[in-house]
């Protein structure tokens, strides 16, 4: 199989399978959560509560009072990484073209040098987060193979994308195929690792806000 054939496979069957497994995995995981249900709360909720599930879904994106200064590395690297990844996925012109081919929807792209910088920033932030995970006693204790696997499969698409764009080391067609394979690996593993927080964090934040909100607390 030459490089072009490999790329064709990566863009064709491999991508289709990855997307199917991704979709099935996400549906399964959501079912695993929601099928457990929860008991109705019979206590009388407070009228006019400042808190609610929806409120917490949004407000929890900001650090709680006094928390930023306790662990600025996690917060700042976390923001830089998530923002950089978001810009790279959704605002690089070739990616928008890909989404258009899949869904018919299109939106304006950001200048490529800006996306390029955000990818570098995201990779640096991931590096910092990995070092922090290895050095911080709490994170090191909490971490298992799943955490390092999740780190690696998130880092690879950024790295391969960056290498493909800059034509570094590997022939471009092959590099693009590798970039696609890395994305496909990420898609398949996402539902079954902690990366599923991409979806479940909206659920957990909502429950948190709802639990506190009925008591009159804006969490």
């Amino acid at each position: 199989m030459n490089h072009l054939e490999l790329l064709t496979f990566a863009r064709g069957n491999a991508l289709n399978w990855a997307l199917m497994l991704f979709a099935a995995g996400v549906v399964l995981r959501l079912f695993e959560i929601f099928s457990l249900g929860r008991k109705a709360d019979l206590s009388k909720p407070r009228a006019n509560s400042p808190g609610s599930g929806w409120r917490t879904v949004f407000t929890r994106s900001l650090p709680a009072e006094g928390m930023l200064k306790r662990d600025p590395v996690t917060y700042i690297s976390g923001y830089v990484f998530h923002l950089g990844l978001f810009l790279a996925i959704f605002f690089l012109a070739p990616h928008i073209e890909f989404f258009r081919s899949m869904t018919g929807l299109r939106w304006p792209n950001l200048p490529t040098p800006l996306v390029d910088a955000s990818v570098v920033a995201a990779m640096v932030a991931l590096g910092v987060l990995l070092a922090h995970r290895l050095n911080n006693p709490v994170k090191r204790m909490l971490s298992g193979i799943g955490d390092y696997l999740a780190w690696a499969v998130t880092f690879l698409p950024l790295l391969t994308g960056y290498m493909a764009y800059h034509h570094l080391f590997v022939e471009y067609t092959l590099m693009l195929a590798l970039h696609l394979f890395s994305v496909e690996l990420l898609l398949v593993l996402l539902p079954f690792t902690k990366l599923f927080h991409t979806f479940s964090l909206f659920i957990s934040r909502w429950y948190n806000g709802d639990i506190f909100g009925r008591k009159g607390v804006a969490s």
Binding site: L28, R29, E32, I33, F34, S35, L36, G37, R38, K39, D41, L42, S43, K44, R46, S49, T56, V57, R60, S61, P63, A64, E65, G66, M67, R70, D71, T74, G78, R133, N136, P137, V138, K139, R140, M141, L142, S143, D147, F192, K194, F196, H197, S200, L201, I203, S204, R205, W206, Y207, N208, G209, I211, F212, K215, G216, V217, A218, S219
Partner: protein
């Protein structure tokens, strides 16, 4: 698997619901919950990371309620939860968690660790891994009527003293009164000024109220140890008393977890909504204030600060009331940093103050409160939870800090306008 372990695992399986599944699914092991927990910040020991305290519950969730976990279990790849492990986790689940919920306010993905610890304790207790001191308190609550072993004669003796001191008759078992007043054991034994304060305030406000001989104790060891059957018996006593006397409102005393037990857990424990309202005493007093029924004179001289009890502010929504009330009697008031919803726990909530072996750790964790107080320079500490109060007094004494701790209800009563 031993019978007890099976009971514990079953209890874990029973309490796991959609919120818990979403919490465990969302955790990215960022470790920020540790930074919100005073047992970690004051010891630097990673084992006190809140999400880590839930590890056995997490594994039961994964092995029982996820496809991958079930596959792992079938293939013998997953590590089963054992008796030895639960015993190892006992100090983490009980001694080092006051269910203060600070971590639940800080977690970026919104995990409510307190919600989970409360439920995890059901499995810990069912499998025989609850602390002996909490078992004792729960047994006394069921058999005697109070975790500290107080019976009705002790309450009657206090009523008599208060009557003699204030000249106000303390009503007992008066049907049709508007308010049923409850107390915590701590108030019966250590802080009789609470009952006197309530009597004076009710007299000034012109409200009818009563104590109940069958339901005087507000605290609930059942929700601390994690045995809902016991918690239900204790709440049911109050529900029965309130319904027998046909009161409109039951007043939870200056006790944080009693309020949680009665106001938020109670209807779920007894399986139906109440026919009466439940208010914390501070909510009642603030209601009197806004209705013009609370008249005070004079102000406290000393610089005051307020300790927000976790169960009131974070898990109860009682935030503004104490500050409204303090304004009536204090001009010289300063809030601590991280006050209100992000206040730091006294270190003794959630049953921790009742566990003797937890005392050294609790005193170590108190360093957080100590530094918070030192920063304000306050000369008097006001609070609204008798358990916080005793824990604060012990902590201050341990660190040789000469700061009196006062209950807010009592402080308000001291300033009531005479003769009205």
């Amino acid at each position: 698997m031993s019978v007890n372990l099976a009971k514990g695992i079953n209890a874990f399986k029973e309490v796991i619901d959609a919120p818990i599944a979403s919490f465990f699914s969302s955790c990215v092991h960022c470790g920020l919950c540790a930074e919100a927990c005073l047992f970690y910040t004051e010891t630097g020991d990673p084992q006190y990371t809140p999400i880590h305290k839930l590890e056995p519950l997490r594994r039961v969730w994964k092995q029982e309620y996820t496809l991958l976990g079930k596959l792992g279990k079938m293939l013998g790849l997953s590590k089963p939860v054992t008796d030895a492990e639960l015993e190892e986790w006992k100090p983490l689940v009980y001694n080092s968690c006051t269910m203060c919920s600070r971590c639940a306010m800080a977690c970026p993905v919104g995990n409510d660790m307190t919600y989970m610890i409360r439920k995890m304790r059901e499995g810990m207790a069912a499998s025989g891994h609850a602390p002996a001191d909490l078992i004792g308190a729960s047994t006394r609550s069921v058999e005697i009527g109070s975790p500290m072993g107080i019976r009705l004669p002790a309450v009657k003796a206090q009523m008599k003293h208060v009557q003699a001191d204030t000249g106000i008759e303390i009503p007992l078992d008066v049907a049709g009164a508007e308010y049923l007043v409850l107390m915590s054991s701590m108030e019966i034994i250590n802080f009789p000024e609470y009952l006197a304060a309530v009597a004076k305030i009710m007299k000034q406000a012109g409200k009818t109220w009563t104590l109940c001989s069958e339901a005087f104790e507000a605290t609930n060891s059942g929700i601390q140890i994690g045995v809902s059957d016991i918690a239900k018996i204790l709440v049911q006593r109050i529900v029965d008393g309130a319904e027998k006397l046909k009161v409109k409102t039951v007043i939870s005393p200056e006790c944080g977890h009693a309020y949680t037990a009665l106001r938020w857990e109670g209807p779920n424990l007894v399986g139906r909504p109440y026919t009466f309202d439940v208010l914390h005493i501070l909510e009642v007093l603030d209601g009197f204030r806004s209705a013009g029924l609370l008249k005070t004179t004079g102000f406290e001289d000393a610089l005051l600060t307020f300790h927000d009890p976790c169960q009131l502010v974070r898990r109860g929504g009682v935030l503004e009331q104490p500050r409204n009330l303090l304004k009536m009697v204090a001009k010289n008031f300063v809030d601590t940093t991280d006050h209100g919803q992000m206040n730091w726990c006294c270190g003794g909530g959630g049953g921790v103050s009742a566990i003797e072996e937890a005392e050294p750790l609790r005193l170590q964790a108190f360093k957080k409160k100590k530094s918070q107080l030192e920063e304000t320079g306050a000369k008097t500490l006001v609070t609204a939870c008798a358990n916080c109060r005793i824990v604060l007094e012990e902590g201050l004494e341990h660190y040789h800090m000469n700061i009196p701790v006062v209950g807010l209800t009592e402080m308000i009563a001291d300033h009531l306008t005479e003769g009205e």
